[in-house]
């Protein structure tokens, strides 16, 4: 480890970024010394990508400063920061689709050295392509690259700038073990060529093997900081990832909602499933995300779908709502095939969804958001449903006339759940409702879910917070790389060592 000489390469102080009622970045300060690899980790929705955007210049901070290589770059836009030597990759790769791989790099090269000799520019780009394992794809249109190679292209393109600092935004997501090894080798090889690297990562193996120091972000704030080994060994940090303790700090109540008794589960096969997925493959454009998903939800059951970032959970939720059409396979509701149905018709069948990111309608008030979800309902019935939601979530009643997005993240999540309830659904899909929420808030949300469960609601919970999901679910499926890697009832899965392996990356 090199000892820092002189000033830090990058220094951010008191960075703040707000979106409406949500504070995405809350007074974050960090330093990157020359020759250092800093890792930034934290659960999904913690504000990591916002932070990269603030450092790279794509986002303007509401407060705080950024110093790079001794100069204040706070007011400089992304292009200027890039020219000074900050290279940044995007979490979801954004290659220039209409150009070849080599041209993507040339764009970076020519923007910095517009009068370079063509031969020199090409040589430099080809060298970078060789280093990032893309030499064979140099003449292919970027559009044809599968997702994983696009990630390499992201890194290559940033490297073509000869940057002093490299900001890597979740390059490891969605890679298999062997590819992660290659990625780690690549990052290590970069150490001599750039003066500093910041790695934002969800795949902890990458940060463990590449970073000297780690910064943990939670709810947009700095949660922990220190040497990699220390941070990863900390129980607090593990809790942040695997599931929070109850707000009081004591282990969460195990029997918040009793899972279906075993006897009932044995009878279950006799009941026809309310929702069924058969052999579903789905993806976006070139990228195939879901590979052969079989899933069934019985009436009154709570099924949890777990998995790390990039495992395909959200794609699954989007397939269920009808936003994405499966390329292969069937979706059945009550035995009726609804594959390829438009979303509003699926909703009409009684499938309600709390979408990831809440998706509250900003131009509508809280009450209007709720009213919208109750389709063609007579006024008396509508008023009754509203009252029920307000009883469940008094916070919403207080703010019924306010704009939907003016509330905190937790309250917006309550609104999203309330919206789902207004439709009197037969099945609710909860897509990552715990994202970026404080434990106290999550307690309340899951109490509400438990109440729903007791009332007999059928639920599919897609969740990042493993503990909470296991507490409420009857049946659990754990996804990895677009497939279901582990299934069983909640108790069985909880005790399975493979669960921790899938998340943290090493069996205990």
């Amino acid at each position: 480890m090199t000892s820092p000489v002189g000033q830090p390469l990058l220094e951010a102080a008191g960075l703040v970024k707000r979106y409406g009622g949500v504070v995405a970045t809350d007074e974050v300060s960090l330093q990157v010394q020359r020759g250092e690899v800093l890792g930034i980790i934290g659960p999904n929705g913690a504000g990591k990508s916002t932070l990269i955007g603030l450092l790279g210049g794509a986002l303007k901070a509401d407060a705080g400063t950024v110093q790079f290589d001794g100069a204040d770059v706070t007011q400089l836009p992304a292009a200027e920061r890039a020219r000074r030597g900050i290279g940044r990759t995007y979490q979801i790769p954004r290659p220039f689709l209409g150009m070849t791989v080599r041209e993507n790099l040339l764009a970076a090269r020519y923007s910095l050295h517009p009068f370079a000799r063509k031969a020199d520019a090409l040589a430099a780009c080809d060298a970078v392509l060789a280093r990032t394992g893309l030499a064979d794809a140099a003449d292919l249109p970027a559009r044809t690259l599968p997702l994983l190679r696009r990630k390499r292209l992201e890194v290559a393109r940033a490297l073509a700038l000869d940057p002093k600092l490299l900001l890597l935004d979740e390059v490891g997501a969605g890679l298999v073990d062997a590819e992660v090894t290659e990625l780690i080798t690549l990052i290590r090889s970069l150490r001599g060529q750039v003066q500093g690297i910041v790695i934002i990562e969800h795949v902890l193996r990458v940060v463990r093997e590449c970073c000297e120091r780690l910064l943990v972000i939670n709810f947009g704030r700095q949660f922990a900081e220190g040497r990699t080994g220390d941070v990863l060994a900390s129980d607090d940090v593990a809790a942040v990832y695997l599931g929070t303790a109850g707000a009081s700090g004591s282990p969460p109540q195990r029997e918040v909602a009793a899972p279906m008794p075993v006897a009932a589960q044995a009878l279950a096969p006799a009941l026809a499933p309310l929702l069924e997925l058969k052999g579903v493959h789905a993806g976006y454009g070139q990228a195939r995300v879901l590979e052969g998903i079989d899933l069934a939800v019985l009436p009154g059951q709570t099924v949890a779908v777990l998995g790390t970032n990039g495992a395909g959970k959200t794609t699954l939720a989007q397939v269920l709502s009808g936003a994405i059409r499966p390329s292969v396979g069937q979706i059945l509701i009550d035995g009726q095939a609804v594959t390829g149905w438009p979303p509003h018709r699926i909703a009409a069948l009684g499938l309600a969804q709390c979408m990831e990111g809440r998706r509250i309608f900003a131009p509508l008030s809280v009450e209007e958001n709720l009213q919208l979800a109750a389709r063609r309902v007579p006024p008396a019935e509508l008023a009754e449903r509203l009252e029920r939601v307000y009883t469940l979530f008094p916070d919403l009643k207080q703010r019924r006339r306010n704009a939907g997005t003016s509330m905190s993240g937790g309250q917006q999540q309550m609104l999203a759940i309330g919206r789902a309830l207004m439709a009197r659904p037969r099945l609710i899909v909860f897509d990552e409702i715990s994202l970026g929420l404080a434990p106290v808030v999550m307690d309340r949300l899951y109490e509400a879910l438990a109440a729903l469960k007791r009332a007999g609601m059928t639920m599919l919970v897609v969740e990042q917070d493993v503990e909470r999901a296991l507490n409420i679910a009857d049946q659990v499926h754990v996804m990895e790389h677009g497939r279901i890697a582990l299934s069983g009832n909640a108790a069985a899965v909880r005790d399975d060592p493979r669960l921790r392996h899938l998340y943290i990356g090493k069996a205990d």
Partner: protein, 291 residues
Amino acid sequence: MPGLELVASGLVGGLLLGGMLALIALGLSIALGVMRLVNLAHGELLVGGAYLGYFLTQATGIDPFAGLGVVAVAMAVIALPLHRLLVAPLAGQGMEAPMMTMFGVSIVLQNLYLLAFRADTRAIDTPYAGRPLQWGPITVPLTYLIGFVVSVVAVAAVHLLVSRTAFGRDLRAASADPVAAATLGVDVGRVHALTFSLGAACAAMGGVLVGTAFSFTPNTGATWLLVSFAVVVLGGIGNVFGTLVAGLTLGVLQSAGALVLGDGYRDLVGLVLFLLALAFRPQGIVAATAR
């Protein structure tokens, strides 16, 4: 500088015109706000309404303001299949293709009008057409005042529709986040079709007002299109109340420009303001409500 009467009348006339501008621009605003559709045929839909009003009055002798409802409904009905055939199939292909298609529609309509009705300048006559209204130093045509009242009522009605009804909720949700709206059960395709229809109906009503207050030919659509854009951008896209304020403002400013520079510069003033607004404040001068 012209005398007090001229200035006062000019400004008040401008205000009344501005009210009409709001209705004229409204259809464009909601189509843009809800469907992200740049309706380059807006001017031709307006002129179409003018022709409808003209022939309705000619055939039945009914007062054009009284026949406004008929014209609106007729245009709404015509607009539905137009949307279904031309715009709906292009959904999900970005904004360029529908915009160019509407450009094509505007050319087709302009020349259809030319072929069917020839290039004659027409105006919708009313028995009180020439009668001025006098109030102190201010003199304005009566038709301006009636047009103003009609416009404000229509704009208010649309505002109520958008802010108080279930359809209005669906419309606002579909414009903010169509994917989420669909997941919650909103038939976004239907919302778009009805929005387009509503926009066309507003344009048609505006056309009748233009026909009574001024005159029209098959080609006058282009100028009204651009003035409408000016109002839409100044008022904030999709903001009904903003459209009203922007219309009034633009009407007054245009009249002021005409007073100072000469009547031929009226439209030019509007366009220059438009370009300035685009450059410095594309989100509009009126802050959107409910934020």
